[in-house]
Amino acid sequence: MAATALDIRPAKRGSLSKFWHRYKMPYLFISPFYISFFVFSLFPMLAALYLGFHKWDGMSPPEYVGLRNYIRLLTVDRFFLQSMGNTIVLGLMCLVPKLTLAVLVAVAINSGLLRFKTFYQVAYFLPIITSPVAVAIIFLTVYGQRTGILNYVITELGFRPVAWLHDPVTIKPATALLIIWHEVGWYTVIYLAGLQSIPAELYDAAGVDGAGTWRRFIHITLPLLAQVILFTVIVDIIGELQVFAEPFVLVGPSGGTGRQGLTMAMYLFQNAFVNMKLGYASAQAYVMFGLIAVLSLVNLKVFGRTGAR
């Protein structure tokens, strides 16, 4: 190729050409990501920041309003504050049982006491490959109105039937149950991988020292799994704070009775694409971003320390 010609050029230009000639392939190979990121992510992010300080319906020119969007969101907009509360409560209802169950299932599968491990792994992982929309449709029929299969089980056990998706009290637990069912398997697989990287000698040594199952779990398994748990908590928080499809299908775009199922992402969707308040919704997106960043950092601080101990 042109390499020999390039080599005899004057030093200054030659070095740049040489540089290009030497490194062009890797830069070429990685460039699609950076181009795509700048066009479809970074530019929109900056645009959202700009729009957050404006009032804009998508047609007429944006009107500068300073911090008014943010102030309104955090002080007077009851729906936004409610959606934030809903999202956090729903998130906690999902996160804690989901990750706890996943740890327990992973430890059980990994314990060496079970046969048919592959079957259990496949079974627990099955829900996660199904779309949230399909899952929500299935659960619509599980919950039903006054009847439905879940209510049948409940009345057989001697309780009164519950209007799961209409009673404001049960909307969140019902949504959480669906999300837990949907995602336990995902975290189980991640924890299993973490467990399998713990050296078996540690357990043997503890066994010789007379440590029981429970103490081995507390003193060996959990501490060594701490990093993995930290990682999953952060990933899950980011996901839970943006939850959209499940409540959207279960209780409808407006969030159901008393807006108990209205999450931040649903409210953002409503403001942006139904009410066409694009500036206001952009400000909302940044409030969510801030919340996610803060919670992730808090986690990193709190759990990061326990992990290092």
């Binding site: 490194y23 392939m25 190979f29 990685i30 699609p32 990501f33 795509s36 479809f40 992510s41 530019f43 929109p44 992010m45 645009a47 959202a48 729009l51 998508g58 169950l101 314990s111 060496g112 006491l113 079970l114 491990k117 592959t118 079957f119 792994q121 496949v122 079974a123 992982f125 099955l126 779309s131 949230p132 929309v133 399909a134 449709i137 299935i138 029929t141 039903g144 009847t147 439905g148 398997g185 697989v189 991640i190 991988a193 973490g194 399998q196 078996a200 357990y203 010789v208 081995r216 993995v228 990682f231 943006q242 959209f244 299908v249 953002l268 942006a272 952009s282 997106a285 969510m288 971003f289």
Partner: protein, 294 residues
């Protein structure tokens, strides 16, 4: 892998006591884990049952536990309510396009990060990883406006082009290629006069096929299951992918759950079959990827 776990149950101590404890432990474990597995699987069975029932029987007391015989009838009502066949092909087209493009661009970039030395490599890689933390909601609105500006509303371009390359896949491929493709092999190919792209195409792609398969399945699932993007981009009912089409049925609050569920079965079952066919390797692949990601 899955089978390598060691028996940690009390090997030390008195035989008799340990045996009793082990049996109790084992029973508890089996009950717990089997009950959970049952709960994980039951909704799928229920889905199939509802798809075969008349709408009036779905919520009857006691609930029907065995399938009915109205599957064909329900499928017919489904096709009358929405252009289901069209929606199906749309989902297939979208998911396939995104998967093919993403596998190409992600593996190419992953290869570059894994096997080339170049200035600012670490910085660029760290930057790439940090982009994974950006919540989709922050970019959603201006992205939509951008798509409008490009004239891509109601067009599949908006759902394919921005999804053609992503940070997670590059990270994933980089991890795999770094450990599975020997650098000596690449040098040997270079001495033989292979161009860099040909090395990628003939050596790297072959050796990285397990990682490509897992990433491909994940990407396909992600696209097949996605709701928000198509919901705001696609306006035309005939252009809806399955998720949006099924959601319109729900939003209409039609009570024909048999038809709705027949549509859901259609959307879920092929995915289940593909998953079951490669489940073991797929889960092992996911686990490996997620742990390297720590």
């Amino acid at each position: 892998m899955i089978t390598s776990a060691v028996d940690h149950s009390g090997r030390a101590g008195q035989r008799g006591r340990v045996d009793v404890v082990t049996i109790v432990q084992k029973t508890t474990l089996y009950v717990f884990i089997s009950f959970g597995a049952l709960l994980a699987l039951f909704p799928f069975y229920w889905m199939v049952v509802v798809a075969t029932l008349p709408a009036s029987e779905v919520f009857s007391f006691p609930p029907p536990i065995l399938p009915g015989n109205l599957l064909i009838h329900n499928i017919r009502s489904l096709f009358q309510a929405i252009p289901y066949g069209r929606n199906y092909l749309n989902s297939l087209f979208l998911a396939t396009s995104v998967t093919v493009l993403m596998l190409f661009f992600d593996s190419l970039a992953g290869f570059a990060f894994a096997k080339y030395e170049f200035p600012a490599r670490e910085t660029l890689f760290a930057f790439l990883l940090s982009t994974m933390m950006i919540p989709y909601t922050v970019t959603l609105i201006p992205w939509f406006i951008e798509m409008k500006y490009f004239g891509w509303i109601n067009s599949y371009a908006a759902l394919i082009v921005p999804s053609a390359v992503d940070a997670f896949g590059i990270f994933w491929m980089c991890q795999y290629i770094a450990s599975a493709v020997p650098s000596e092999l690449l040098d040997a190919a270079r001495i033989d006069g292979c161009s860099e792209f040909r090395i990628y195409r003939q050596v790297v792609l072959n050796l990285a096929s397990p990682a490509l398969a897992a990433l491909g399945i994940l990407t396909f699932l992600g696209s097949w299951n996605s709701l928000v993007g198509p919901l705001i981009i696609i306006r035309d009912q005939a252009k809806f992918p399955l998720t949006v089409a099924l959601n319109t049925l729900v939003a209409l609050r039609l009570t024909d759950y048999g038809a709705l569920m027949a549509g859901t079965v259609g959307a879920v079952v092929p995915i289940l079959l593909v998953y079951l066919a490669g489940a073991r390797r797929f889960i092992a692949g996911i686990a490996a990827g997620s742990i390297h990601g720590m």
